[in-house]
Subunit: 306 residues, 2 copies
């Protein structure tokens, strides 16, 4: 079924604790999400970049084959969003070195007419008022899920609260769930978020996995126990991409069903585990469906208790 993602496309510079770095690589929540979701089916991308957006990055997006870039606005005279970050010793935390919002400070991209029948909507991380505005352009979503970040909880809490009344689900990091709710337990924080509107919340814990807090129950999954972590950038976005991509591809009668979401979360877990093996989208660009299937099976065996 039709899956749409709106969010950022950026040009990233990333430093790792091992002393490696990459300058000017393809990044942004929307790029990571779309690449991951494309392994499951077509994905419609809505984002804006400047005319400095490198051809090679467009080529990378094209290489995934099923990313529909009809909603990618390349704005003359504008500059692409740029972000630089450095991961700290344990890969769990990072510091931003610079953030140049550029085109993100302009009017948001519009949802193309041909995308308005989308049924699965993912609002990747950006200002919650923009997320709400973009969501309003898709009249009858079957499933709408949003991501967010600490910045918006700080500066746009009211907009985020409004958005929570309009989406079925929220995915966010544990730190962010704690920040929003003041609750120091992922399940308790998730439940407090449910009180704000959504049917489910996925609390992401990075290398420690994720917890699904749902009106019908709670489930925890570990992360895939990866040994080589080069660059965690985009892990959360590709987690969401795998989860939503799987849901859109299987198009269950009730995509907010607890067990359906729990299983979808495992697909996100697997895609994210590949993402972090190299910089940017490099690993996903070389990934095959067979490799995803093999690791999914390995993961399923790892946690099988019956």
């Amino acid at each position: 079924m039709s899956l749409i993602v709106t969010g950022t496309i950026g040009i990233d510079t990333v430093y790792t604790p091992a002393g490696e770095h990459r300058e000017g690589v393809l990044g942004g929540s929307c790029a990571y999400f779309a690449a991951a979701a494309s392994f499951y089916g077509p994905v419609r991308l809505v984002a804006a970049v400047g005319d400095d957006f490198p051809d090679e990055h467009q080529a990378t997006l094209a290489r995934f084959g099923r990313i529909d870039t009809a909603g990618l606005e390349i704005r003359a005279g504008s500059k692409t969003f740029r972000w630089g970050g450095k991961y700290l010793d344990n890969m769990d935390h990072r510091e931003s070195l610079f953030t140049e919002l550029n085109v993100l400070e302009e009017a948001p991209p519009a949802v193309p007419e041909s995308f308005k029948d989308s049924e699965y909507v993912f609002l990747a991380n950006m200002h919650p008022a923009l997320q709400a505005e973009l969501l309003s352009q898709v009249p009858s979503p079957k499933l709408a899920v949003a991501d967010t970040m600490d910045l918006w909880i700080d500066v746009a809490r009211d907009d985020l609260a409004k958005l929570l009344t309009k989406v079925d689900g929220l995915v966010l990091n544990y730190d962010e769930a704690e920040q929003y709710t003041g609750k120091k337990n992922p399940v308790t924080a998730g439940r407090a978020l449910l009180d704000e509107g959504p049917t489910f919340v996925v609390v992401k814990k990075g290398e420690h996995g994720a917890i699904l807090v749902h009106r019908d129950g709670v489930a925890a999954l570990p992360a895939y126990p990866a040994e080589e972590v080069v660059d965690p950038t985009g892990a959360g976005d590709t987690f969401a991409g795998g989860m939503m991509g799987h849901l859109a591809a299987t198009n269950p009668e009730n995509p907010t069903d607890f067990d359906t979401l729990r299983r979808a979360m495992a697909h996100g877990t697997i895609i994210a585990s590949f993402t972090i093996e190299t910089f940017s989208l490099d690993r996903l660009a070389g990934l095959t469906g067979e490799q995803i299937g093999e690791r999914y099976d390995e993961f399923a065996s790892m946690v099988a208790l019956r």
Copy 2:
């Protein structure tokens, strides 16, 4: 089959971030382990306390029904080990308020003659030289597993290294695995520990679950997503107790088999999730096998991906 545990029995004082505290409660690695293991079958306890050890604590151990205290030495003129600790805000870290080693500074308890045929041996946390000494008193263990802590890695690293050549498995916290190996990834740290001798290492991550690093593979399990965490003391010891108790009770042909250990780890996960719901052994003292079974089934469903 015959399961033996050696370690400490203590009198604890515990402060929680919520402002609650308990003074003089039953604690110690051996007490927690034995209580947890007793749900699966009989467990033989070897430890020393002083003549200040309260009758009520002895009564608590007796209440579990299957803890054989023939190896519990109550030494006239000696004082029981006492520990006081305070949990910090997120329950993940604690600070020791006081540690009175007392009887732990004397000669270790002896393994009673009637316990020497034990087949499953758990060396709960204490000085690794004492762990080795106690292990040497059980001539033909089918499975020998040790726990350890940061203190021994600091002050008795050589003894710990020697112990690792004598046991089949090691369970330890992730911080400790990192401290011993210098590796900042639980799988990599676990593999480095395998190089020291054991067939498997269980890297415990508290609320984030545990990772089994084994010569034949790697598996991760989440913790049970508990909402009410009152006192995490003993979570790791009861995790080990559930794991070893299950192994001893089922007595598999090869107890170091990867898949066997992986499933045993899930039993540890479930028992530990009960332990932290109240102070000391209070929750385990009121626990039934039926409640363990129900939560195990719930947990198995939570991670079932097939």
